[in-house]
């Protein structure tokens, strides 16, 4: 089939549709409404999915927690516990799907400021801690890479510690003593509140993990007992776990029959289930919206059937002077496809506008992807062709002798 043949047909279809503008608009209205509602619903559910994903990430959907003890499926501890080394930390950071790596070294020490003296949990970590846990500072700055490199004597206070030692007073820039060693406060964190188990998450002081071993007064070295890792995407968790396990086993020279002497905990299965639920929701809602598309398609079929009846004589003339059934079918299909495609285009722009309005009502952003626009265009043209087949076929099967006698 030549391109010019297709273009000729489409141009003729366009001319025909423009001859009766009100009818064309009313006919495509069904498709307009259908495409509009599909676009809105997909945009809103995509937006919701995005928000849920973000919330899951802040709940740890992208994180993997490494612990030093290997454990079998039955819960029995196996293998020799071993802390993580600096080198392993560096290698983890080099794995492609790994975004942040944050070591956790926990201890508790006597902390004093002016006349207040208390024992407080001290956590040694690095600059990634704030990013992995989605935990910004309320004022001041978080520790940075240079602080970690230098083992600087700086600290960031949890919200509870801030309250306990400083109250409403500004803490940034003040010196506190941890086991008698002076640390400069560079910031304090926002409040996270209690865990479901009732533990206060804000009751700690965070320092560069490298500082812990430097000032160690007891002559004791603190190993890296835990590592928190976050991956670039929620879907990368599986791969990252695989790569980390391989790397650690190699580093530690574990033989095939030896158990892991470390343990990884992650929540990717929970994440997958939740995101699956939103996908099911999206499919369900689009399916409901598609019902109006089918109704719109039937509207097109109806009008095309009327059009065939109206143009019986014309079809008779065309067949008489040489149109084959393919020519007639193509003529009518071009018209119904164009009608529906045109409805689809209006539906897309209307859907785009209205989903912005709807997003204001539901309170989260609507996301319209190129994919859904392309799909809407193709689907509306498909509806036009599908529902145009019967009328077009009916036209092509007309008996030219009878058709040509039909009065216009």
């Amino acid at each position: 089939m030549k391109l010019s043949y297709i273009i000729d047909n489409i141009l003729e279809a366009k001319t025909n549709l423009l001859r009766n503008v009100p009818r064309t608009i009313l006919t495509s209205l069904g498709i307009v409404i259908g495409i509009t509602s599909v676009i809105i619903l997909v945009a809103i559910t995509d937006g919701a999915k995005n928000i849920i994903e973000q919330q899951l990430v802040s709940l740890g959907a992208k994180t993997i927690v490494l612990k030093p003890i290997g454990r079998t499926a039955s819960g029995v501890y196996r293998g020799q516990a071993a802390d993580f080394s600096q080198n392993e930390l560096k290698l983890m950071k080099g794995i492609p799907s790994v975004e942040f790596v944050s070591p956790i070294v926990k201890t508790s020490n006597q902390v004093s400021y002016r006349d207040i003296v208390q024992v407080v949990a001290v956590v040694g970590s690095n600059e990634d801690f704030s990013l992995i846990n989605d935990w910004p500072t309320a004022s001041g700055a978080f520790i940075n890479r240079i602080d970690v490199q230098d083992g600087a004597k700086v600290c960031v206070l949890g919200a509870t510690v801030q309250k306990r030692f400083f109250g409403a007073e500004q803490s940034v820039g003040k010196q506190i003593r941890i086991d008698g060693v002076s640390f400069r406060v560079i910031g304090h964190l926002t409040e996270k509140g209690l865990t479901p188990g009732g533990r206060d998450q804000d009751d700690f002081i965070l320092i560069p993990y490298t500082s812990l071993n430097r000032w160690d007064y007891k002559g004791q070295l603190y190993g890296i007992s835990n590592i928190i890792i976050s991956t670039t995407k929620t879907t990368n968790v599986d791969y990252a776990k695989f790569a980390i396990r391989k790397m650690l086993r190699e580093q530690r020279g574990l033989l095939k029959d030896q158990f892991d002497n470390f343990q990884m905990v992650s929540y990717e299965n929970v994440t997958k289930k939740i995101l699956q639920t939103t996908t099911i929701l999206k499919v369900l809602l689009s399916a409901i919206a598609s019902i109006s598309l089918v109704v719109g398609g039937i509207g097109i079929m109806n009008v095309m059937l009327v059009s065939v009846t109206e143009r019986t004589k014309e079809i008779g003339i065309r067949i008489t002077i040489g149109a084959t059934s393919k020519d007639i079918i193509f003529q009518f299909l071009s018209e119904s496809a164009l009608l529906s495609f045109f409805g689809g285009l209006i539906g897309i722009s209307l859907g785009y506008t209205l989903s912005q309005v709807a997003s204001g009502f539901v309170g989260w952003p609507a996301i319209i992807s190129t994919k859904s626009i392309v799909a809407a265009c193709l689907f509306s043209a498909f509806i036009g062709i599908f529902f145009g087949i019967y009328p077009a076929y009916k036209a092509a099967k007309l008996d030219p002798i009878k058709a040509i006698r039909n009065e216009e």
């Binding site: 003339i317 040489g322 084959t324």
Partner: protein
């Protein structure tokens, strides 16, 4: 019976373009059978100008439809340009009509929402590989032949009956067919315009076309080289 071959006598041509052998046509209406054509045998030669005359209901339109490949005989053989058309599909017959037959009707049968030139170029749309520009050029040439190039952009309802029939004639010529079938071409026209149309058909005949006119008007029939009379489905 075979129709006498006039051309042969005149020494012009003896190539048959249309040959009917024992054509019967029976219409089934429910349980009733209605035979409208009985054993029609007919040969038409290249360059003939034939009129087929008969009262209404005599079967002349059915005969024309069969010759035009619009209808199929119940029995008998039809050779168009020497080829038996019996085994052809409907789409093949469409192509044959498109290439070798030009149609002129009593009611002109132009498509009212298209302009004259669009109507004239329409058969080309269904035949060859010409693009729109070339099709329009050819259509304009055909409109010039019928003296209507100045009405190219007019719609049929803006033209008089005679002009519409000339547009239809231009359309019938566009694919340069061998045969022109005219079904009561002057039936809707006054006598003055009818004479013009007949003159035009004569000119086409002079240029070498085979022309077959169906009419019930004896004065029109007289203009042809030969007249076939048909009554009650039989050639008399």
């Amino acid at each position: 019976m075979l129709y006498p071959n006039q051309k042969d006598i005149n020494g012009m041509s003896n190539k048959t373009v249309i040959e009917l052998e024992n054509i019967n046509k029976i219409y089934q209406t429910g349980k009733n059978e209605l035979q409208v054509l009985f054993d029609i045998c007919l040969q038409i030669y290249e360059g003939d100008f034939i009129s087929i005359v008969g009262p209404s209901g005599s079967g002349k339109t059915t005969l024309l439809n069969i010759m035009a490949c619009l209808d199929r005989p119940t029995s008998g053989k039809y050779f168009l340009g020497g080829k038996n058309v019996k085994s052809k599909s409907n789409d093949d017959l469409s192509k044959i009509r498109n290439k070798s037959i030009g149609f002129i009707f009593q009611s002109f049968n132009l498509i009212s929402r298209h302009t004259a030139i669009e109507n004239v170029q329409m058969p080309l749309q269904y035949s060859d590989t010409l693009d729109k520009k070339e099709r329009n050029k050819k259509a304009l040439e055909c409109l010039e032949m019928v003296d209507l190039s100045n009405r190219a952009k007019h719609h049929p309802n803006e033209l008089s009956g005679g002009q519409q029939q000339r547009v239809a004639i231009a359309r019938s010529l566009i694919n340069n067919p061998d045969i022109i079938l005219a079904d009561e071409p002057t039936g809707n026209l006054d006598s003055k315009t009818s004479a013009d149309i007949i003159d035009l058909l004569k000119k086409l005949h002079d240029s070498g076309k085979t022309i077959i006119i169906i009419t019930h008007d004896e004065s029109i029939a007289k203009e042809a080289m030969d007249t076939i009379r048909i009554k009650d489905g039989r050639i008399i």
